[in-house]
């Protein structure tokens, strides 16, 4: 009984350290158990909340499992046709340059049907944020092979594993956009552990600040899971992702702003 009283003493408003942000709606997420989409949505909503941008943000929701994203984060939205989110974001940001504008897209959306929009938007250096959820598969439509599917990885359309001779090589879109002059900040993160969630949140916060500088496209890939498509439990899927996805899609920054690099050099010179 003493223990129960102890807990009651802890659960008080003044002791609150974490609660889901009000920028998330109360709608139940339409995702499978353990799917990284939910975590990615939540930290994005947290940043929008913490930066006071709820009424200043316009999101472009994709086609894919996250097609109903506009039901889950309480901001202004535009739904795009499959793959076309960066084109819509381009128009919206140009018309309303003071808004924080982002797209949220899966790998089928961004790296297959929307390849052209992705590359040209990044090459033009549109002042938007692209969030790219790479789970190596077309989740929504039943786990078909995507351009991002790993060599040897099984999917419903590569049941014996992806044979690159027959099916081509996987595409590293993030590496490609990092080479384009229009991108300002390009990073690859994940949301499957507390440390990774915190790092990804930091990356999104940076992208929000960079957008205010009007310096070009920010691109954040989140290597994520698809427990249902991969036919694993969520915990197994996360382990599989660490063992197989991360060696092919290594986490970390691919392009950081020149100013920040210079800053780091001066700091380290100072420290020397």
């Amino acid at each position: 009984m003493a223990q129960a009283t102890g807990i009651k003493e802890i659960i008080k408003p003044e002791n609150l350290v974490y609660r889901k942000t009000k920028v998330m709606t109360d709608n139940i997420l339409s995702y499978c158990p353990g799917c990284g989409h939910g975590t990615a949505h939540r930290i994005l909503a947290e940043i929008i909340d913490e930066e006071g941008l709820q009424s200043e943000t316009i999101g472009i929701s994709p086609v894919g499992c996250s097609v109903l994203l506009y039901e889950f984060i309480d901001i202004d939205w535009q739904e795009a046709a499959h793959g076309r989110a960066p084109a819509l974001a381009t128009a919206i940001k140009r018309l309303l340059p003071d808004k924080f504008v982002f797209t949220y897209q899966g790998d089928g959306d961004l790296a297959a049907i929307g390849t052209a929009e992705t590359i040209h938007t990044c090459n033009r250096g549109e002042n938007i944020l692209i969030i790219f959820i790479n789970n190596g598969i077309y989740g929504m439509t039943g786990g078909q092979m995507a351009p991002t599917t790993l060599p040897g990885m099984k999917s419903s359309t590569s049941p014996y594993g992806r044979d690159v001779k027959l099916m081509g090589n996987p595409l590293k879109m993030t590496d490609i956009v990092a080479t384009l002059p229009g991108t300002y900040y390009v990073t690859r993160q994940s949301v499957h552990t507390p440390v990774n969630v915190r790092k990804t949140k930091k990356a999104i916060r940076k992208a929000v600040h960079y957008q205010k500088l009007n310096k070009g496209t920010c691109f954040i890939e989140i290597v994520s899971n698809c427990p249902s498509g991969w036919k694993m439990t969520p915990v197994e899927a996360n382990k599989w992702m660490e063992a197989n996805m991360f060696p092919f899609y290594p986490l970390g920054d691919l392009k950081v702003p020149a100013e920040e690099n210079a800053q780091k050099t001066t700091n380290s010179e100072k420290n020397d």
Binding site: Q3, G6, I7, E9, I10, I11, K12, N15, L16, V17, Y18, R19, K20, M24, I28, L29, Y31, C32, P33, G34, C35, G36, H37, G38, T39, R42, V191, H192, T193, P194, V197, R198, P227, T233, P234, V235, N238
Partner: protein, 74 residues
């Protein structure tokens, strides 16, 4: 000596039983219930509440955002 004590509240009916919180808890506070919620999932709950340090790791990784965390010094 002051001790950090934490406590979590899981919204049972919104939990999907993915176990991601359980494996992310550094203190082994969380376990999965032996009974299911109204959706049919074995939901997460603080099986060893006295171990919780309020680090919020579980809440950070919960894809459904169903964990609320409290922390205090006792």
């Amino acid at each position: 000596m002051a001790k950090i004590r934490g406590s979590i509240v899981v919204e049972i009916d919104r939990c999907k039983g993915c176990e991601v919180c359980m494996v992310s808890c550094p203190t082994g506070t969380i376990a999965m219930a032996k009974e299911v919620n109204h959706k049919g999932y074995f939901y997460a709950y603080p099986a060893h509440p006295e171990l919780c340090i309020g680090c919020a790791n579980c809440a950070m990784v919960c894809p459904d955002g169903v964990i609320t965390v409290y922390k205090t010094k006792i």
